[in-house]
Every structure is written in structure tokens, then in C-alpha cells.
Symmetry: C2
Subunit: 419 residues, 2 copies
């Protein structure tokens, strides 16, 4: 069987499974999710064994310590995965919910109802726990899922997928509701992206190269979970203590994530006062500052010079770029020009300035007097998150269960025909 035939066959099976899945009640799906959680725990020894072979190979291939740690599964991590699944089972099922309803003058009753999307392809790298995290959110919402993980984790992913299939089908889930692409052949990504007949949505979770491959080949909608070049703008009317806290929190609390702050913009009127204070705190926390000329003048040798590249950089590290701006308009202009439309915050006591910022900054999430670190499904109260979309359609910002559904119009009449 060629790779193409193999992928097509997986797609065909996923489509068939998706039709069965769409008929399952919330209770049936939740029972299957609990079955999956149990199966992961039961099969933990086999999963850890498969993971050990991945780790061994990875070590030989010289993967960094941080990467090895991301790859490693333990009994505790598998238990945590199972706990995560059980908590998803507890969430409300959006499928079947009425989003809107109205009656037309001719008596037609129109109901706009949430339905599963169908078949979702998830392409991800590295961490094997994504295999179950992402899959269960798709299953919860009645979607079949085709998973394609990173080659480093292939054995771990296969073992997890097998456990999920066993646990799910023992509780009435179609056997092909979760499938993992069993090969590390890179062509599989392209073949998945081209298969619009069987995949309704593809979600690439990984680096630039992966996303580029998917986007350039995809014939179906893609929802990208791309980088975050997030800004804090400290306005002239900012409470400078609050601004310092929000800046420090955005940069330092967890620098390696997409909602961390990468660029600080400061109004010229408060730059001296604010940067002396916040700059010292940032430096004390081990943050490297890359500033424009005005910033460097204020920080007096404690800032590196920022280059043009710094304004678009997602450091994911203890580095921050800093620019002094003349006014709100320049701050907005900077964010629109260099930002990634992920999460941006203004700190100010001036309502008019805040509202202008909230309106004109075209980002998935815009904040007034709060940390950008809140862009997160859990922090939004979604209960679960498949990621944070940097696209505008069909989901923007944190993607929860609702964003894994589409809708259809269900129309009930009593013989209406069109005149």
C-alpha cells in the first residue's frame, strides 16, 4: 500500500466514524472518555515502555535536556493525562445546543444548532500528552480525529493511541474515531493537508516550518496556533505600580509561552519615571532589555540596543524589547505593524485612551489594565483548550469546545413552499 493509499484509507475510516460519533449522546461520549482515561492508566506500563524507546533514540540523536523532559512520560504524567480526560467528561457538551432561533412570518421555525465539524486533523510536535489532550476534546464534541505527532514521540504516541482506541471502543466509541498516522514519513503531512474530501479542519500545532507546510498544501480550513508577539503599552495616565506588575508578570511569570510579553511600549511623558523603576525590577529578575535610543538613555548602559528584528521577535525567553513612543497613536501603529495580533494590553487610568486602544488594536485579545498572560482557555473559564488561534476565522483566541463545533440550520414547517 502506498503512503497515499494508507492516508486515504485512514481518512475514509475517519469520515465513517464521524457519522457514527455525531449520533452519540453526551452521556455515551462521556462514558467513552472515562473508558479512555481508565485505559491510559491501565496501560501505563506499556506506554512508559514505548516512551523509553523514544527517549533512548532521542538521547542518541542529541536532543536537549529540555526537549527530553518534554518527551518523557511517567506514571504521574499519565495519571495527569487521565485526570484531564475525566475533567473534560464533566464539561457541558455543546453539540445539539441551540445558538439562535426565530420564526419567520410564514411560520417556518428556524433553529441554528451546534453540530460537530466532522473530521479534524491535528498535527503536532514533541509532547506526547497532546495525543490524548487534543483527541479527547475532538471526541467530546463528536468529531473524529486524525493525529499526526512528531517523529521523536512515535512509539509513545502509538501506545497512547492504542490505549485510547481500546478504552473508547469498549464503551461504544467507533473504532476509528481516533486514529494516529503510524508513519514518520514527512509526506504524510502534505497528504493530510490535501485530503479535503475526508478532513474538514486541520490544526497545526508546532513551529514555523510545520505551519508553512500545512498552509501551503491545505485545501480545507486551517486554524493556526502561531506565535505571540504580545505588547504592554504603558500610557501617560498609567498607574506605574500597576504597569510594573503587569509588565513583570507578562515577561517573567512564564516566559516560554505565546501570551508572554515580548515588547514594552512606554509613553514619553512617563518613560523616565517608569523605566527607572520597571527596568530595575526586570533586570533584577534576570531579564535582558533591548531598548530604542530613548530607553537606552534612561537606562544608562543597562540596555542593549534594539534592532529592527527585535520588534518582531518572539523571544520566549527572559528578553524584552522596549520602545518609548510619543503618544497612543504611535503605540497602536507599532503594535499593528510589528505585532502578531495575539494579545496586547494598555495600562492607563484614561478611559478614552483605553477604549481607543481596545477598538483599534486588531488582536484576538486586547486588555485594559490586566496581564496578557490571561489569554488561555482555562483562565477564560472554558474548562478546556485546544490552543490559541492566531487566525481570525473560524476561531480566534483561546479555542474551547464551542470552537470545535460548527452549526446547521434545522427548519421545521407545515408545508411551506416558496412563492
Amino acid at each position: 500500500m502506498t503512503l497515499q493509499d494508507q492516508i486515504t484509507e485512514i481518512g475514509r475510516k475517519a469520515r465513517a466514524a464521524s457519522r457514527e460519533l455525531a449520533k452519540l449522546s453526551a452521556d455515551a461520549k462521556n462514558a467513552a472518555l472515562r473508558g479512555i482515561a481508565d485505559a491510559l492508566v491501565e496501560r501505563a506500563p506499556a506506554i512508559i515502555e514505548a516512551n523509553a524507546s523514544d527517549l533512548e533514540r532521542a538521547e542518541k540523536n542529541g536532543l536537549s535536556k529540555a526537549m527530553l523532559d518534554r518527551l518523557r512520560l511517567s506514571k504521574e504524567r499519565i495519571t495527569a493525562m487521565a485526570e484531564g480526560i475525566r475533567s473534560v467528561a464533566e464539561l457541558d457538551d455543546p453539540v445539539g445546543k441551540t445558538i439562535d432561533r426565530w420564526t419567520r412570518p410564514n411560520g417556518l421555525q428556524i433553529n441554528k444548532v451546534r453540530t460537530p465539524i466532522g473530521v479534524i486533523g491535528i498535527i503536532y510536535e514533541s509532547r506526547p500528552n497532546v495525543t490524548s489532550d487534543a483527541a479527547v476534546l475532538c471526541l467530546k464534541t463528536g468529531n473524529a480525529v486524525i493525529l499526526r505527532g512528531g517523529s521523536e514521540a512515535i512509539n509513545s504516541n502509538l501506545a497512547i493511541a492504542e490505549a485510547m482506541q481500546a478504552g473508547g471502543s469498549a464503551h461504544g466509541l467507533p473504532a476509528d474515531a481516533v486514529q494516529l498516522i503510524p508513519t514518520t514519513d514527512r509526506d504524510a503531512v502534505r497528504l493530510m493537508a490535501e485530503m479535503d474530501r475526508y478532513i474538514d479542519l486541520i490544526v497545526p500545532r508546532g513551529g514555523h516550518q510545520l505551519i508553512e507546510t500545512v498552509v501551503s498544501h491545505a485545501r480545507m480550513p486551517v486554524i493556526k496556533h502561531y506565535h505571540g508577539v504580545c505588547h504592554v503599552y504603558v500610557d501617560q495616565d498609567a498607574d506605574l505600580d500597576m504597569a510594573t506588575e503587569i509588565t513583570i508578570n507578562g515577561k517573567v511569570q512564564r516566559p516560554g509561552v505565546c501570551n508572554a510579553v515580548e515588547t514594552l511600549l512606554v509613553h514619553r511623558a512617563v518613560a523616565q519615571l517608569f523605566l527607572e523603576k520597571a527596568g530595575a525590577e526586570l533586570i533584577a529578575k534576570g531579564v535582558e532589555i533591548r531598548g530604542d535610543e530613548a530607553t537606552r538613555a534612561i537606562l544608562n548602559g543597562k540596555s542593549q540596543p534594539a534592532t529592527e528584528e527585535d520588534w518582531t521577535a518572539e523571544y520566549l525567553d527572559l528578553i524584552i524589547s522596549v520602545k518609548v513612543v510619543d503618544d497612543l497613536a504611535e503605540a497602536i501603529e507599532h503594535i499593528e505593524k510589528y505585532g502578531s495580533h495575539h494579545s496586547d494590553a494598555i495600562v492607563t487610568a484614561d478611559t478614552a485612551a483605553a477604549e481607543q486602544f481596545l477598538n483599534e488594536v486588531d488582536s484576538a485579545t486586547v486588555y485594559w489594565n490586566a496581564s496578557t498572560r490571561f489569554t488561555d482557555g482555562g483562565e477564560f473559564g472554558f474548562g478546556a483548550e485546544i490552543g490559541i488561534s492566531t487566525d481570525k476565522l473560524h476561531a480566534r483566541g483561546p479555542m474551547g469546545l464551542d470552537e470545535l463545533t460548527t452549526y446547521k440550520y434545522v427548519i421545521r414547517g407545515d408545508g411551506q413552499i416558496r412563492k
Copy 2:
């Protein structure tokens, strides 16, 4: 300037205009729409002159009478276009509306607010009135629009676009809010589809070839307005008079549109009675019937044989394919296998059968005891329609103004940081 540079420049200008547009109030946008309507009427003589040169060329190229009629603009048609624009100005503006709002335990106020999508590319064929119809819906929702019309209508489209630009900018609309690709070079479609930096959404409205070109090159979301292979299923518990009316209405009232019925499915228990009656009426209305064996046996020489191709055919003509099925499950199976997931109806007095049909048929619009011809923005009460999406994301079924928006999360706090 190369074509690539030309398209890129149009994109760059559209992006800049979209940022200005997003700031305009509903009143300002509506005033501009009325200005556009006035300009179309004022410039009607110039538009008709440009149209005459398109018609002359089209006639030389041997376009069919029907196509020439679609291409032709008259004072009355231009007045109707202007009236259409004025009625869009009267509609509610969805931009800025709160879709959802909640407060988190930490006090963060989260508002999910409708925003413009940004820049929308519309690629269409033939009828020049689409130039203004589609453009004003985009403008109303604060989106900049790049139009690419069919080559037959290039002069008409340019004249309409010029009138729109003049009328709009006289009332405060950014000059580049509406732009028309001024060349008929086919490469322009590909270049637009590749330009994800400047175009956020592309909507191809046209034949299979156009849609295929867009889908295969697009790097941004595409919303397809594709064909409708719509079904009526007459259940064993159908009111046969109602079923006949719904079938005749679906096939005959306007056969050339995507929500017309192409295939009739009939439960075996009522096939004899129903097909004798409905068959005779269809034939009396000039409809050609292409039936399976059971249908042909009942219609006794008055039906052509249906081939496998007939089940997927969108005739857009007075032809209908007819199949007798054993039960509801076979009807659903047929629709899922051969249909285009556009609009499908069941006629029955059996609530359980109806609900099963409504649940299991995965189409944008599913009907119980009503004609599929109601799948239409106007009939839904949307007031305006950019088309009927056959995609699942981000819009499904009739697309009105709401579907030309996205959303962002606007979050107001008082200094919250993440713990």
C-alpha cells in the same frame, strides 16, 4: 510594474484602508453607502456605455443569449442596484455588538465583540451587479474589499467600481476601501489567493474551475459557494399532497438556482401512490424524470433511466432524478453519499423520523415539511446575503452581515496579573 507588484500594491492599500474603515461609526458607513448609491445612479450613463462595449465584445465572442442578458445593464438595473445598497444602509450594523460577556472570579470582565474581518477578496464571474452587491456588504461590516470580476464584464465592473470609489470617498470612505483588479490576466486570481499577508478571507463565486483555482492556491480561509444537490425525501408517513407541493416547488419554481431540488427519494410504501400523482404533475410542468428501476416500473415508460452520474448531478434545469428507498436509513445514506450538504428536506407526519433526518443529515440546512427553496438570506430574514456557503467553517448556509464579521475578546481589569 509586474502583475505581482500590482496585486501586492492593491493588497497593501486595502489593508491600510481596512484599518481606517474599522474605526468608522455605523452612521458614517451608512452615509457612505448612500453616497455610493447616488453615485451609481448619477454615473449610470457612463456605466451603460462601458457595459455596451462589454456586450459588443461578448456578442462577437458568441456568448449565449442568456449570458448576454446576465451581462446587460440598463438604467432600471442600475437603479435596482442603488436601491439594494440603500436597503443595506438601513440594516443593523453588527460591528461592535457584544456576542457574549462574562466576569471571571478574579474580576476580569471578558467581552466577546464583533469586529470586521479585515480585507475580503471576492472573485466572481459574469453578472456585473455583483460588483456593487458584494462590495457594499463588505463595506457595511467595515471590511475593505478587493474585487475580481469576470473578463466579459471588465469595462462594466471598472465603471461601477469607479462610481463606488467616487461616491464613497465623497462621504468619508477611505479611497481604497473598494478596489477592483483592473486586469483580466488569469494569474491575478492565483496571486490574490497567495496574498495571505493582505487578504483575510477569499470568497469565490463561480464555477468549478474558478473555485478549484482558488482552493488550490489559497493560503487564507476560503468560503465556497458551491453547488447544491438538494433532496426531498418523501417518507411513508408523508402527507402526499404536501409532498407533491414541496417537490414541485423545489424543482419547478426556479430550477436554475442552488437550492432547487435535484433528487427525489420516495419510501417504497408510498412510492406507487405518490409517484403516479407527483410524476404526472412534474411531467405536466415539463420536467424530465430520470428514475431508478422501481420508479420506471411505476411511471411506466414516462421516466428515463437514471445512471450513477444522475445521483450527483446538479441539473439547474427541469430534470429530476428519482429513487425509491426501503426506509429512512437508506434515504439518509443516499443523501450523505451523493448530496452536496446544501439543503435537504423530509416530508413526514412522523416526528421521530423527522428528528432522525434532521439530526443525521449533515447539511447546512435541513427541512421538515418545507421546501428547500427557503435556503436564502432574504427568506431567513437576514436582509442581505453575500451567498450561500457550502463550507462548514467559518460560515455555513446563507451568509448575511454577521458572517462577514469575526470577533475579538476585549478584557477590562484593574491590575490583574496571573498567579
